[in-house]
């Protein structure tokens, strides 16, 4: 690690874009870790495809953040030259892959939110955000279908797959509440009508999740205490390790191309 991190001027809109971009990048990177390790070739490719969709979403959002910040930073600067406390992603996105069930449940919980969110954001008066939402919505709709079908089969599958899926639900559940939070900076954008209040999607998310978990014969946990902190840079110990891997080459050889 020979390079220093950039300093970002986080206006509400820059912060907003970074939060969504970081969700997509970090979750996409997690999925890329399955490449060559998934239970079957078909799922190896499916997870890599989803990871690449998310990487594309991250790139669009980082470009937008760079444009809004107007400080000469590039999408690569945001991805590779910020430390963990500067990352604004949901804790859910950075949690380790665990087994296939945990990866699938993590994807399902996120996609069930993102699908609703991006579809609604297509109506944003900000044309760039509306365009990003339109592209993301199609991708995320498939991520939701893919993960939901697996949740059903894992939950309603063998004794072992049910146990693993149930463990994943229990492990991930306290990290789902963060998706619906908006701090003062984001609330300002909500009030201005630029973005939508994530809390407004809770009921619809809850219904999707309840329906699929019921079909999967998995018990939906009772609402309880929820983890938070990712949006303001207080991360689990896992993110630092992820970034160390992801950033090692650009930090060691800045500006390297291939």
């Amino acid at each position: 690690m020979t390079t220093t991190s950039i300093r970002v001027v986080e206006t509400p809109l820059v912060l907003y874009a970074l939060r969504r971009a970081d969700d997509a990048l970090v979750l996409g990177h997690r999925l890329s870790e399955w490449c060559g390790h998934a239970p079957a070739l078909e799922e190896d490719m499916a997870l890599a495809n989803i990871g690449l969709d998310l990487l594309g979403q991250a790139r669009s959002l980082y470009s937008y953040a760079a444009e809004m910040e107007a400080a000469g930073h590039t999408e690569d600067d945001f991805a590779f030259h910020r430390d963990a406390p500067q990352y604004r992603n949901l804790l859910l996105a950075e949690l380790p892959n665990g087994d296939f069930a945990r990866t699938i449940l993590r994807q399902f919980f996120y996609a069930a939110f993102a699908d609703l969110y991006w579809r609604a954001m297509m109506a944003s008066p900000d044309p760039t955000l509306a365009a990003i939402a339109a592209k993301s919505e199609k991708e995320t709709a498939y991520h939701l279908r893919h993960s939901a079908e697996w949740v059903i089969r894992l939950g309603d599958g063998t004794e072992e797959s049910h146990r693993r899926a149930a463990d994943a639900v229990a492990y991930l559940w306290p990290y789902t509440g963060e998706m619906f939070e908006a701090d003062a900076a984001e609330r300002a954008l909500v009030d201005a009508g630029t973005v939508l209040d994530p809390a407004g999607f809770r009921d619809a998310w809850d219904k999707t999740v309840s329906d699929i978990l019921a079909e999967a014969t998995l018990e939906k946990p009772a609402a309880g205490w929820m983890q938070q902190g990712g949006r303001s840079g207080r991360h689990s110990e896992h993110l630092g390790h992820l970034l160390a891997v992801m950033q090692s080459v650009p930090r060691a050889i800045p500006g390297a191309t291939w």
Partner: protein, 99 residues
């Protein structure tokens, strides 16, 4: 195969894709999936990543009855000597245009 029971073998599916301007679905390959829904998803993920198609069919491989390669002689060679079956022995009138 003999060491595995049917329960532990994920079924094989044949994948057919209709391309953007193709009229018919064409066989593109096969994959393993537990059921038809997952087979369709896997076909999408494995075989249409580069915009190859607009429609997918998946068919259980064991639903396909195939001719025996060992019977190639009996099945297909007799047709080889019947060149008169090809419609190449008459002139197409100009008015017909492209066929």
């Amino acid at each position: 195969m003999s060491t595995q029971t049917n329960k532990t073998v994920t079924p094989l599916w044949e994948v057919f894709i209709r391309s953007r301007n193709g009229l018919a679905h064409k066989h593109v390959g096969s994959l393993h999936a537990a059921d038809a829904t997952l087979a369709l998803q896997a076909a999408r993920d494995v075989y249409t990543r580069r915009g190859e198609g607009l429609s997918i069919w998946v068919v259980p491989s064991n639903a396909i009855t195939a001719s025996d390669p060992g019977e190639k002689g009996m099945m297909f060679e007799p047709a080889e000597s019947k060149i008169y079956r090809h419609p190449t022995f008459y002139e197409v009138p100009d008015e017909v245009g492209h066929m």
